[in-house]
Symmetry: C2
Subunit: 216 residues, 2 copies
C-alpha cells in the first residue's frame, strides 16, 4: 500500500497518479466542481484509463476515501499498541493528526474538510467508519476504567476530537497561520484541566462551575 502517504515506487504507477491528482483537485475545488477531464489532464492519463481503473469519477472518490480511511485506521492501531491508557492515546492521536495536517495537508482535508455524503451516498457516514469508531472506543474504555471523567461518551468524544477537528479546519482554511504543533500544549491543557481558570474556580466556584450534576 505505497500510495499517498508513503512514497510511490519508481516509475509511479498510473492509478497512483490518478488518485493523487484527484485528491488535490477535490480538495482545492470541491468534488462537484471537478470534471473527469480535469483529473485526466492533471494526472496525465487518458479518460479511458480512469474509467477502466475506477469506473468513473465517483469510483475515484470512493477508492480515495476507502484508502485514506484505511491508512488512518492503521495509524490508530499503531497508537493503541504503543499506549495503554485513554489520555496517552488521545494525546498521541491529536499530535499525530496535527503533524499530518502540516505534512499531508490534502489527505487530512479530504477526511476532515469534505462532505462525503454529497457524493458518496452509499458510504457510511465518516463517524461510523472504523478509525472514528476506535477513537470513540478509546474514550469509552477510558471512562469505564476511571481514567476519564464519568460522562456521556458522546460528549467526551465530541469535546476531545471535535476541538481537535476544529483547529485542523481553521488551519486548513488559513485562519490559523502557525503550525498546529504550537498549540499542542494549550490544547491538551484545556482538554484535561477544563476551561475555567484555576484562580476564578477557587474564588467563586459556585459561579464558574455552575453545573450541579453529581460526579462519581
Amino acid at each position: 500500500m505505497p500510495y499517498l502517504t508513503q512514497a510511490c515506487p519508481d516509475p509511479e504507477p498510473l492509478d497512483c497518479r490518478i488518485l493523487t491528482a484527484a485528491l488535490d483537485l477535490f480538495v482545492e475545488q470541491g468534488y462537484h466542481n471537478v470534471s473527469v477531464h480535469e483529473i485526466q489532464k492533471r494526472a496525465d492519463v487518458s479518460i479511458g484509463s480512469i474509467y477502466k481503473h475506477f469506473g468513473g469519477k465517483e469510483g475515484v472518490a470512493d477508492a480515495l476515501y476507502t484508502h485514506i480511511l484505511g491508512e488512518l485506521d492503521q495509524l490508530i492501531d499503531g497508537i493503541m499498541d504503543r499506549h495503554d491508557n485513554a489520555a496517552d492515546r488521545c494525546q498521541a492521536i491529536i499530535e499525530s493528526l496535527f503533524q499530518h495536517t502540516e505534512t499531508h495537508r490534502n489527505i487530512i482535508a479530504y477526511i476532515f474538510h469534505t462532505k462525503h455524503a454529497d457524493f458518496l451516498p452509499q458510504q457510511a457516514h465518516i463517524c461510523e467508519s472504523s478509525p472514528f469508531l476506535k477513537m470513540r472506543a478509546i474514550v469509552e474504555q477510558g471512562i469505564q476504567r476511571g481514567e476519564l471523567r464519568q460522562t456521556a461518551p458522546w460528549v467526551a468524544t465530541a469535546c476531545i476530537f471535535g476541538g481537535m477537528a476544529r483547529l485542523i479546519q481553521l488551519r486548513l482554511d488559513g485562519s490559523i497561520t502557525a503550525p498546529l504543533m504550537q498549540y499542542r500544549n494549550d490544547m491538551l491543557d484545556v482538554l484535561w484541566n477544563g476551561m475555567v481558570s484555576d484562580k476564578l474556580a477557587q474564588e467563586i466556584p459556585e459561579r464558574s462551575r455552575p453545573v450541579t450534576k453529581a460526579r462519581s
Copy 2:
C-alpha cells in the same frame, strides 16, 4: 425579517416559499444535487420567478446564507446583552443552539453541516462571519478578564464551540438519537472542569496532567 425562524405572514410571500424550499432541498440532498427545477417544483413557483428574485440557484443559496447568519448574529447579540461574563455567554450559546438543532433543524444544518465554499466561493469563510467572530471575541475577552484559563484563544474557542458543533453534527446525522438538551450538563461539566477524572487527577497528577506549561 419574518422568514424561516419566525412564522411567515399569511399569505406566505413568494420569495419566502422559494427560500424555505431551497433550504430543505439543499440540506436533504446537498447543493450540487439540487436543480433549479426541483426548487421550482417544491416552492410551487415558476423558474422565471426564481431568476427574477435571486438571479439563479447560487443567488438563492447566497440569500439563504446571509439571512441565516443575520438571524444567528441577532441571537448572539441578545445573549451578550443578557449575560456579562464569558462562561454564562458560552453556556447560553450552547443551550440556544442545542435547542435550535431540535426545533429548526435545517437552519442549523445549513450553517453547521454544509461546505459553503464549494458553491459560494465569494463569501467569506463562515468562521470569519460576524456571529462566529463574536463567539471568539467572547472567549478572548473571558481570557483577558481572567474568567477563562490563560490559553491561546484559538484553542479555547475550538474546544468550546468545536465540541458543541461536533455534537450538533452527530445529532443531525442521526448518530445521536436523543435530543441534545439531555447532554447539556455533561457538556458544560467537561468544558469547564476538563476530561481527566477527579479521582485519577488526585492519585497520579503527574501522569494524567502531563502538560508542563506554566499557568498564570
